[in-house]
C-alpha cells in the first residue's frame, strides 16, 4: 500500500485543437498522487484541468460507471476513466491517454459519437411490441430467453467496444459490437415484433466479426458482444429461409430535411471525411494491386510446382550391368540391374531385371526393359517359343521386342547402352 501513496506519475495526454487542426500531439503533465487507490483517471484529468491546463477537454457525466461518457484509451486499452484507478495500472509507469479509435476527434479526448449512434440506429435497436397487450408479459426469470439475454441489456453505449474492434474500420457495413449486442437482446426477446426486419438489417454485418474478442475484453460492463454476434449467426442458420438479404444498414428514417443537415457538426467536421474517402479509395487501389501481385506469385509457385518436374532436364545415368563377357553371344540373358537413385535427401536402391540380347555380330546388342508396355509386369524369355511372355495378361513380344499377341500397345522399351573398359552400361533416365 505504501508504494501507492505520494507517488509521482507522468501523464501524457493527446491534444487536438479544432481551431488549429493538424494531427495532434501529446502533452506531458507531472502529477503528485497522494493515494493511487483512491484516484481515478477521471480525477487526474480534472486535477490537470484545474491546476495545470484549463483548456484540456474531456467528457464525463455520472462519474460512477453508469453513463458511458468517459470512454478513452488508457495505456493502450479502452476503458472508462471513472472506472480505472491509477493503482490498476502498472506501478510507476507513465500514463498515456488517447481518445477512442474510429470516431472523429472534436477536441483533445472528446470524440464525436455520431457514427456510433448512426450504426446503432440502423440496426433497429428499439423495441416494438409483438402484440397490443397492456399487461407486462409473464416471463420467468429462469426462462431460456432471459438466461440467454442476461445482463446484455445493460450496455451503456460508451463506444469502448467499437474502438477496440479492428474490423469496424475495414467494413463500411459493419454495425460494430455494441449495435449487434443490442440487436441480439431484441432478437432473443419474445416480446419483440421486429424479428425479420432486424435480422435482415444486421445479419450480413455479423460475418465481419473475426472472433477476436477485443470488445469482450474491454467492455466495462462485462458484456460480450462477440457472444451476441455468434448467437445471431446461429439464429440465421436455424431459419435461413426467413431471411432475404436486403439493402443493408440503410438508415430507417430519411434525415429531416432542414433541421439535422444544418447541425454545425455536419458541415464543420466533414473535411476529414472527404480526405478519408480519398485516402480509402487510394488504399483500396493499393490493396487491390498487392492482392493481384501476391495472387500471381502464389499462382506461379503452384504452377511451377505442378509442371516444373516434367520440364526439368534430368541427367542421364549410366548403370553398370556386368562385364561384356558375361553375356554369351547369341543368347538372351537376364540380369538384375542395381540402380542407385538420388532422391531428395536420401538415395534409393532400385533392383530391376533387364534383358540383354547379344547377337553374333558384336555390335548387335539390345538391352530390353523387362516391364511389359501394357501394365508394367515383368516379362521373361521363353526359349522354346522364342518369345518374351508377360504372365499378367498374356502379352507376347518377338525377339526384336515387337508385339505378337495380347494387349501391349507398343514394342518393349529398350535402354540405350554403352560399352566401356569391357563393361556394359545401361543408360537410365
Amino acid at each position: 500500500m505504501s508504494k501507492a501513496l505520494n507517488s509521482r506519475r507522468l501523464v501524457k495526454i493527446y491534444r487536438y485543437d479544432p481551431s488549429v487542426g493538424g494531427n495532434g500531439h501529446f502533452d506531458q503533465f507531472d502529477l503528485n498522487i497522494e493515494d493511487e487507490t483512491k484516484t481515478t483517471i477521471l480525477d487526474l484529468l480534472i486535477r490537470i484541468q484545474k491546476t495545470q491546463d484549463p483548456t484540456l477537454a474531456f467528457r464525463y457525466a455520472c462519474r460512477v460507471n453508469m453513463c458511458g461518457s468517459c470512454g478513452m484509451v488508457i495505456n493502450g486499452c479502452e476503458a472508462l476513466a471513472c472506472k480505472t484507478n491509477v493503482s490498476d495500472l502498472p506501478e510507476k509507469c507513465d500514463i498515456t491517454i488517447r481518445p477512442l479509435n474510429h470516431f472523429p476527434v472534436i477536441k483533445d479526448l472528446v470524440v464525436d459519437m455520431k457514427p456510433f449512434f448512426q450504426k446503432l440506429e440502423a440496426s433497429i435497436p428499439y423495441f416494438d411490441p409483438v402484440d397490443e397487450s397492456m399487461e407486462p408479459a409473464v416471463i420467468r426469470p429462469d426462462s431460456k430467453e432471459r438466461n440467454l439475454i442476461g445482463l446484455a441489456t445493460e450496455c451503456i453505449q460508451c463506444g469502448c467496444c467499437v474502438s477496440s474492434c479492428t474490423m469496424v474500420n475495414y467494413h463500411e457495413n459493419y454495425a460494430g459490437p455494441a449495435a449487434l449486442n443490442r440487436a441480439f437482446t431484441l432478437l432473443a426477446d419474445s416480446r419483440d415484433g421486429l424479428y425479420d426486419l432486424r435480422m435482415n438489417q444486421v445479419l450480413e454485418s455479423c460475418y465481419h466479426c473475426r472472433t477476436e474478442f477485443n470488445c469482450t475484453e474491454v467492455c466495462p460492463k462485462e458484456i460480450s458482444p462477440t457472444r451476441a454476434i455468434k448467437y445471431i449467426q446461429l439464429l440465421a442458420l436455424k431459419e435461413p429461409r426467413r431471411l432475404k438479404r436486403q439493402n443493408l444498414l440503410k438508415p430507417i428514417h430519411e434525415e429531416k430535411t432542414s433541421g439535422k443537415e444544418s447541425l454545425p457538426s455536419a458541415d464543420s467536421g466533414c473535411n476529414w471525411l472527404i480526405e478519408q474517402h480519398n485516402r480509402r479509395k487510394f488504399l483500396k487501389q493499393i490493396i487491390f494491386g498487392i492482392g493481384t501481385a501476391s495472387a500471381l506469385v502464389v499462382g506461379g509457385v503452384i504452377a511451377a510446382a505442378a509442371i516444373g518436374p516434367s520440364l526439368k532436364r534430368i541427367p542421364k545415368r549410366l548403370v553398370r550391368l556386368d562385364k561384356l563377357e558375361a553375356f554369351p553371344v547369341g543368347k538372351v540373358s537376364t540380369i538384375v540391374m542395381n540402380d542407385i537413385v538420388p532422391n531428395g535427401f536420401y538415395k534409393s536402391e532400385i533392383k530391376k531385371p533387364v534383358i540383354v540380347v547379344r547377337r553374333s555380330d558384336p555390335d548387335k546388342i539390345v538391352v530390353f526393359n523387362t516391364s511389359c508396355t501394357h501394365l508394367g509386369c515383368t516379362v521373361h524369355w521363353d526359349e522354346s517359343k522364342k518369345q518374351y511372355m508377360c504372365a499378367c495378361h498374356g502379352g507376347a513380344f518377338d525377339e526384336e521386342g515387337n508385339v505378337t499377341a495380347g494387349p501391349p500397345p507398343r514394342p518393349l522399351d529398350r535402354y540405350a547402352f554403352k560399352v566401356e573398359d569391357g563393361y556394359l552400361f545401361a543408360e537410365v533416365v
Binding site: K12, Y14, Y16, P18, S19, G21, N23, G24, F26, V73, N75, G76, C77, E78, T96, R98, P99, L100, N101, H102, F103, P104, V105, I106, V111, D112, P115, S163, S164, T166, N169, R210, T211, E212, F213, N214, T216, E217, T226, R227, K230, Y231, L234, S268, G269, N271, W272, L273, Q276, V298, V301, I302, A304, A305, A306, G308, N343, G344, F345, Y346
Partner: protein, 113 residues
Amino acid sequence: MEQSRKIQFRGPMKWGELDPNRRRSTHVGMWAWLWQRISAVAIIFFLGLHITRTYIPIIQFLLLITVVFHAVLGLRVILLDFNLINIRYRNSLLGVLVGLGALIFMIIWKGIY
C-alpha cells in the same frame, strides 16, 4: 461580413495510431486471429516449396507445424461459432488447443521419423 471561424474535427484515429502502448491493446483473441491469417500465408508458401522439393525434412517440418497450427486455430473459431464452448473460457481454450496441436504434431512427426 467576416466569416465565422471554422472549426475542424480531426479524422478518426486508427486502431493503434499514435499509441505507444499498442501492444497492450492486442488481446489474446486478436493474436489468435492474426496468427491464423499469418499461418495461412505460410502454408501456401511452404506447400509450394513442399511440392517442388518433396522430401526436404525442414520444409516438411515447417509445413506440418503451420498446418497443425492453422487447424487448431480454425477449430477454435468453430467451437466458438457454434457455442460449443462457453466464451468465458475463450483464452484458456486457445492454450488448450495449441497444446493439443503440439501433441498431434509430435505424434505425426514421430510417426514419420
